[in-house]
């Protein structure tokens, strides 16, 4: 089983092996089977962050309730960025080609509909991350993806409470 990716979940905390910048082995998409998966997950995570930012930008009253979830997704994006072979490379590449998450996001005018849209996005994220967990070659990377999926499952519950008020 490959375990090449370093998977930090917080600053200074690495789940498997040395951090990329300390490794004597230069990582690339050719040698690490999880890099393509990581970039796929990073793109989806950044799109989710963009959606939350657009929703709290339009509905200021939701800002406080959504803050923990938005912060969690930002932490996911940071952890994925730290795990990438060249820090920030995926984000830069997506920016150059105008990738997912860069365009304007259409946010429903009604607050409750905006929350429902977030809940739908979280359900999809939980499902996609579960599939990514199954596909990951590295056990440590799979663990991080499974945890992110669980966080999205929690977010669905949080959004249910926010939408029910």
């Amino acid at each position: 089983m490959a375990a090449a990716l370093a998977v930090p979940v917080a600053a200074g905390c690495t789940l498997s092996g040395p951090a990329p910048e300390r490794s004597p082995v230069r990582r690339s998409t050719e040698v690490d089977p999880d890099v393509a998966l990581l970039e796929e997950v990073a793109a989806s995570t950044e799109a989710l962050v963009t959606l939350y930012e657009a929703v709290v930008g339009r509905h200021r009253g939701l800002r406080r309730d959504l803050r923990p979830v938005l912060d969690a997704h930002r932490a996911h994006a940071a952890a994925l960025g730290d795990a990438a072979p060249r820090r920030g490379s995926a984000r830069r590449r997506r920016r150059r080609r105008g990738g997912q998450g860069d365009g304007p996001v259409d946010v429903p005018a009604q607050e409750s509909r905006a929350v429902r849209r977030l809940a739908g996005a979280e359900r999809q994220a939980a499902s996609d991350l579960l599939d990514a967990t199954r596909r990951a070659a590295s056990g440590a990377f799979a663990r991080m993806l499974a945890s992110m999926s669980a966080s999205s499952a929690q977010a669905v519950r949080v959004l249910g409470e926010v939408g029910g008020r």
């Binding site: 089983m1 979940v9 905390c13 789940l15 923990p68 979830v69 912060d71 969690a72 932490a75 996911h76 952890a79 939980a126 579960l130 967990t133 199954r134 056990g139 440590a140 799979a142 663990r143 991080m144 993806l145 499974a146 945890s147 992110m148 999926s149 669980a150 966080s151 499952a153 929690q154 977010a155 669905v156 519950r157 949080v158």
Partner: protein
């Protein structure tokens, strides 16, 4: 890692999850005893952990670890508040164990563990636990 070693590690990981589920079933017996037989959350949690326990026993087969006669709880549970806290603690512990199982397995056992991790995370929230960016990875 050889296929044989990998298989052995996978079985060890599932055994640790089974041991955690045995303890969870015991703990929810205590929680249900305090909250009462009509407590829907306690009954649902008890049933969920019994279900995972039975699935793990089927996956492991004849070598499955047995439950201990009794377990030492992390704190006394004299009333509903402590019972809810015990629910949070049980779900956090099981989430950590399942996160570890995810890292040590592949294929259907890994998916099983990932689903169980998410269930534990949501149930912990329902008991009053915190929303987390990385459920199951506490302390890592």
């Amino acid at each position: 890692m050889s296929d044989e070693t990998e298989q052995s590690d996978q079985t060890d990981a599932l055994q640790s999850a089974l041991a955690a589920e045995h303890a969870a079933v015991y703990a929810y017996g205590v929680v249900g005893g305090v909250l009462g037989a009509t407590s829907a959350p306690a009954n649902a949690a008890y049933a969920a952990h019994r279900g995972r326990r039975d699935q793990l026993m089927a996956m492991i087969g004849g070598e499955a670890v047995a439950a201990e006669p009794a377990y030492e709880l992390p704190f006394a549970v004299p009333g509903p508040g402590r019972a809810q806290q015990l629910g949070v603690r049980v779900e956090q512990r099981c989430a950590e164990v399942y996160a570890d199982v995810v890292s040590r397995t592949s294929g259907p056992p890994r998916v099983f563990a990932a689903r169980a991790l998410a269930d534990c995370a949501v149930r912990g929230l329902d008991w009053g636990g915190d929303f987390e960016a990385f459920p199951g990875l506490r302390g890592r």
